[in-house]
Amino acid sequence: MKKYLSYMIVALLALLPLIGLSSYTMHILILVIMWSVIGMAWNLLSGYCGQVSFGHAAFFGTGAYTAGILYSKLGLSGWWGLPASIIVVTAFALVIGYICLRLRGPFFALATLSIGVILRIVAENMVDFTGGDLGIMIRERTWVEKIWYYYIILALACGTFIVVKLVIESKLGYYFVAIREDQDAAESLGINTTLYKTIALCLSAVLTGFAGAFYMNYMGYIDPKVVFALHDISIVAIMVVMVGGVATYWGPVVGAIIMVLLAELIRSIPLLGTAHHTFFGILLIIIIIFLPNGIVGDFAKLNRIAGFARRRS
């Protein structure tokens, strides 16, 4: 039964749009799935390999701008951004990895944080290339209905899920976790830590870049403050995984559902809406204290608490 759970969920998601959901509901679903992709990508580098990144907006934005610039400068369809972002983002991740991966723990986190910010400033100032603060707009949308975007991001998410699962169950996965648990021990057991950290970074970056390129095509508009945002991209990527469950297969998906719905819900409350980051902060504190392994990771604990409450009432 449990073995077929993944297939059933995918089949369900594939059939979902056929019942005629509103455009708004489709938009929310697309965002949830897109954030699952980013979450799974972040989880690969930071959850499994232990290299906590505070700068995944750098890869998201690079993917988005790859698609955007192909459209605005070369007149190609923005969808070419998906394959093109593999090359651009990988090249970029190699440079970042060369600089940052020699740092450990909090130093790596701070370095990635600064890279996200540096890229935003670069994108704002290279006006001829990126359009600066005006951003890039795709004037003619590929489709009017959301259903095709939905299927594209769903396919991307399935692909990402399969890649992560294959990687984690192979030699790579064992090496990633070994590096997370103790880098010196891993090194002395014959693991080339620099090489495998770089592989984790590149995989994670490319998957995040895909989400960015999709975002450009789906939203039709990007600017540096949106796609290189520290609080709206980098931090949310971390929260999605922390809330859902670090180093679990389904954690990023569960986290994405909660975070996207929560953001929509809070934003719709009058007066309090603009303070949604405050609520995210409070949520993160609660999660870290009570469910350090996230909802999926601490599912047994949640179950116990629920069972306890039921017995008392």
């Binding site: 090194e187 002395s188 057991l189």
Partner: protein, 240 residues
């Protein structure tokens, strides 16, 4: 021709010499004991041989090729594995996964890695505990897990850093039995140990360090009666 040769190795931290001009060699199949008071430079010497530190002067030859300055993972690939004095298990992994992760160094695929892991776990008597998350293991077994993990890389030379510290009498006997069996498998061993009973019983030869220098080398019997060694351990008052 020797199996491992440490040639006039020195390591300086700033102006301070952690180890000075140390030379000795190991023959294949031998067990070499490395003893000395706290801070004598034993673990530092392991760190040089294993590649964590590059020697400031001198050279380390393993199977007649220089390994000084190579990264630890390259040295491990050449067949030299070590354990840590302060155990470093991959905490949130099960015992089995810990060993599989190191078996991947030479295994072709996951199936083979699992076979090697099973073999090594049975050999070190940890097979019953294979599903335990290693954070939860008692110290004695964590020390043995260190050995198991090192063995899973299928080394020719094994460096054991205080694998017996903190063990009770029965655990000591189990571990000593394991070390003897490792030797019977043809693996050369260099061992740091404070337990004199263990080191005297296991070692073919002993090298003694004090303040970063080699003060004696010889068979266990000779070391036991060496005045300089006794002085280093017990202080001058003893010689009076």
């Amino acid at each position: 021709m020797s199996f491992l040769e440490v040639k006039k190795v020195s390591l300086f931290f700033g102006g301070l010499a952690a180890i000075k001009d140390i030379s000795f060699s190991l023959a294949k199949g031998e067990i070499l004991g490395l003893i000395g008071p706290n801070g004598a430079g034993k673990t530092t010497l392991f760190n040089v041989v294993n590649g964590f530190y590059k020697p400031s002067r001198g050279d380390v030859l393993f199977k007649d090729r220089s390994i000084a300055g190579l990264k630890p993972h390259r040295i491990c690939r050449r067949g030299l594995a070590r354990t840590f004095q302060v155990v470093k298990p991959l905490q949130r992994m099960s015992v089995h996964d810990n060993v599989i992760a190191s078996a991947f160094l030479r295994a072709r695929d996951k199936k083979q890695a699992e076979e090697v892991a099973r073999d090594v776990l049975e050999f070190t008597g940890l097979f019953e505990d294979r599903d335990v998350i290693s954070k939860g293991l008692p110290l004695g077994k964590r020390k043995r897990l260190e050995i198991a993990r090192a063995l899973a890389t299928q080394p020719e030379l094994l460096l054991l850093d205080e694998s017996f510290a903190g063990l009770n009498a029965s655990e000591l006997d189990v571990s000593m039995g394991i070390i003897r069996q490792i030797k019977n498998r043809g693996i050369t061993i260099m061992i740091i140990e404070h337990h004199m009973r263990v080191i005297m019983a296991l070692s073919d030869r002993i090298v003694v360090l004090n303040y970063g220098e080699k003060i004696a080398e010889g068979a266990p019997q000779e070391i036991r009666n060496n005045a300089q060694v006794v002085e280093a351990y017990l202080g001058e008052a003893q010689s009076a």
